[in-house]
Symmetry: C2
Subunit: 312 residues, 2 copies
C-alpha cells in the first residue's frame, strides 16, 4: 500500500490540510474555517475532525496514513508539540500540547511553527529542492523566516529562530508594532508597500493608482502593467527587502533564498528586482552560486511542510 503523510496548517482564519505522498505529490487537500473565536476546545475539536477527514481520505485513496504533522503560529517546542510562545492570531493557545490532541490516533502527530513548515516544504519539494542550506522568508502582513541548515530546520535554543522581520534595518528607525525601533518588517511588509504606493501615486499624475484606497493585489497588478507609481513603490520595496536578504546572505551564506508569502505572488518582475538588490548588497563570494527563487507552493506550503515533518 502506498504510504502517505497528512499535513495540517492552522491559521487564524482557516485550517488547510492535505495528504502528501512520500515523494511530495499532493494526493488530496481541503480547507475549513478555523473558528478561533469560538475558543480553544472548539479549535481542538476542529483539528481532530481534520485528522479524521485525513484518515478517511487516506483510506479512500488506498493509502496508508503513516503520520500527521501540524503547523501552528506561535512558538512550538519541537518535537514535543507544546505551544510555548503566544500568537496574536489564536487566543489562549499557549500551553496546549498539539501532539496530545491526537493522542488516540493510530499514528504519530508532530507539530512545529508554521513558518518552519513553509520553509521545510520548499526545501524538500519546492524551490529549495536539492539544497541543504537555505533561507526561506515570507512577505505579507508580517515578515517571517525559516532557516534550513545542513538539511534540518534550525529552530534555535528556544524554538524561536527565524524572526527575519525583527532584525534591525534602520538603527533608531520607525517604531514597529512590537515596540522595537527600525525593524525590517515596518519598512517592507504589505502596509509599507501600500504607504509607498500612495506616496508615488500622488507624485505620478498618470498612475492608475491615484485616488484609490489601494491593496497589495492592485499595486502588483499595476506594477505588472507598467504603471509608473506602482513601479516606483515595488522597486523601493524590493530594494529594501533585497538589501536585508543580502545582509542575511552575508551572515549565513546559504545555497538558496526562497521568497514566499502573499507578496511573493506579485510576479517574476518583483522577484527579479529583489534578486538584483541582493546581488548588490551581498558579497560576490556568497552569491556566485546562490539561487533566489519565488516559493513554489503558495498557500499550500504550510500543510505540505507540516506533512514533511514526518518524511525522511
Amino acid at each position: 500500500m502506498t504510504r502517505c503523510y497528512g499535513g495540517i496548517d492552522l491559521g487564524g482564519s482557516y485550517i488547510k490540510a492535505g495528504l502528501l505522498s512520500e515523494n511530495g505529490e499532493i494526493i488530496e487537500k481541503t480547507v475549513v474555517p478555523a473558528e478561533v473565536d469560538r475558543g480553544t476546545s472548539s479549535l481542538i475539536k476542529n483539528l481532530r475532525s481534520i485528522g479524521k477527514i485525513l484518515s478517511e481520505s487516506a483510506a479512500s485513496n488506498a493509502c496508508e496514513l503513516r503520520a500527521i504533522g501540524v503547523g501552528s503560529p506561535g512558538t512550538i517546542k519541537f518535537p514535543e508539540g507544546i505551544v510555548t510562545g503566544a500568537t496574536p492570531n489564536i487566543p489562549n493557545w499557549v500551553g496546549i500540547n498539539i501532539s496530545e490532541i491526537f493522542t488516540d490516533f493510530p499514528f504519530p502527530v508532530l507539530a512545529d511553527n508554521d513558518a518552519n513548515c513553509m520553509g521545510l516544504a520548499e526545501a524538500m519539494f519546492g524551490a529549495g529542492r536539492g539544497t541543504a542550506n537555505g533561507f526561506y522568508l515570507t512577505v505579507g502582513t508580517g515578515i517571517g523566516g525559516a532557516l534550513i541548515i545542513d538539511g534540518h530546520v534550525h529552530r534555535g535554543a528556544s524554538f524561536c529562530a527565524g524572526e527575519f522581520g525583527h532584525m534591525v534595518f534602520v538603527y533608531n528607525g520607525v517604531k514597529c508594532k512590537t515596540g522595537r525601533l527600525g525593524c525590517l518588517e515596518h519598512y517592507v511588509n504589505a502596509a509599507g508597500l501600500i504607504r509607498s504606493a500612495r506616496k508615488y501615486a500622488r507624485k505620478y499624475s498618470g498612475s492608475v493608482l491615484r485616488g484609490h484606497k489601494l491593496d497589495v493585489v492592485e499595486i502588483f497588478d499595476a506594477f505588472n502593467k507598467g504603471d509608473s507609481a506602482a513601479a516606483a513603490a515595488v522597486g523601493e520595496n524590493a530594494e529594501m527587502l533585497g538589501t536585508a536578504i543580502g545582509s542575511v546572505v552575508n551572515l549565513l551564506n546559504p545555497e538558496v533564498v526562497v521568497v514566499g508569502g502573499g507578496m511573493s505572488q506579485g510576479g517574476a518582475g518583483y522577484i527579479d528586482l529583489i534578486r538584483s538588490s541582493v546581488l548588490k548588497y551581498a558579497f560576490e563570494s556568497t552569491t556566485l552560486n546562490l539561487k533566489i527563487e519565488a516559493a513554489k507552493f503558495g498557500n499550500d506550503a504550510g500543510w505540505i511542510g507540516a506533512a514533511c515533518l514526518n518524511i525522511g
Copy 2:
C-alpha cells in the same frame, strides 16, 4: 603517550602557534613574525618551520602530536584547505592549498578561516563551552563573526558565512570600506568608537580624553575610571553593537553570544552594556536562557581553535 594537537594562527603581522591537549589545556605556545611582505614562498617556509617547532615541542613534552590545524584570514575551502577568497592582510594568498604546505609531515593538517577558529575555540573550551549553538563575534579594526550550529562550525555554501560586520545596520547609511551603505562595521568598529569619543570629548569639558589623539585602549581606560566622555562613547558603541547582536539573536536564537576581539578586552562594564542592549532589542523568548559573555582566550583563540579543528 598523551595526545596533543597543534594550532597555527596566521595573521598579517604575527604567526601565533601552540600545542593543545585534547581537553583544551595549553601545553606550550609561541609567536613569530609572519613577514608577509617577503612574499608567499617565505610565508610558506615560516609556516613549515612553525610546524617543525610544534613537532619538536610535542616530543620534548612527551606528547604524541596527532594533527595540526591552521587558521588563516580569507575564505578557506574546508576541509580541503584551499584559500578561495582574498584577504587584504596577506598578498597573493588566494589559490594556496594550506594543507599541502605540510604534505610531508607525518600527520594530517586542516585549515579554516581564522574567525571560524576563534569561534570553535570558544565553543569547545571557552566561553561557549557546553553549548551547541552559538554566535561568536570579534570587534576591533573589523567586525567578524562565526556561527556554531548543532555543534559544528557553520561555514556556508561557499565557506563565507559569518560576515556580521557587513550586515545592514542603517539602510542607505554611511559607506563602509567595502562600498556598501550602512554596514554595521562602520558604526561599531574601533574607528567608530574613536570618532564617538572625540565627539564627546569636545562636549564634556572635564573629560581626560580632551585634546588627545585617542586610541581604543585609552578610551576604555578612561571608561573604566568613570570618565564622562568615555562613558558616553562606550555606551553609544555598546548600544549599537547590542542592537545588532539582538537582531542576529532574533534570527538565530543561539544559546550563547561570545564577544571577542580587541575591544572585548575593554572590560566587564563594556560587556554589561552590550548585554543590556541585546536584552532590549531581542525578543524575550530568545533571551530567557541566553548567555552573553566575553571571550575567554583573547589573542590565543585563533591557534587554539585551529588545534580544535582536529579534536573530537
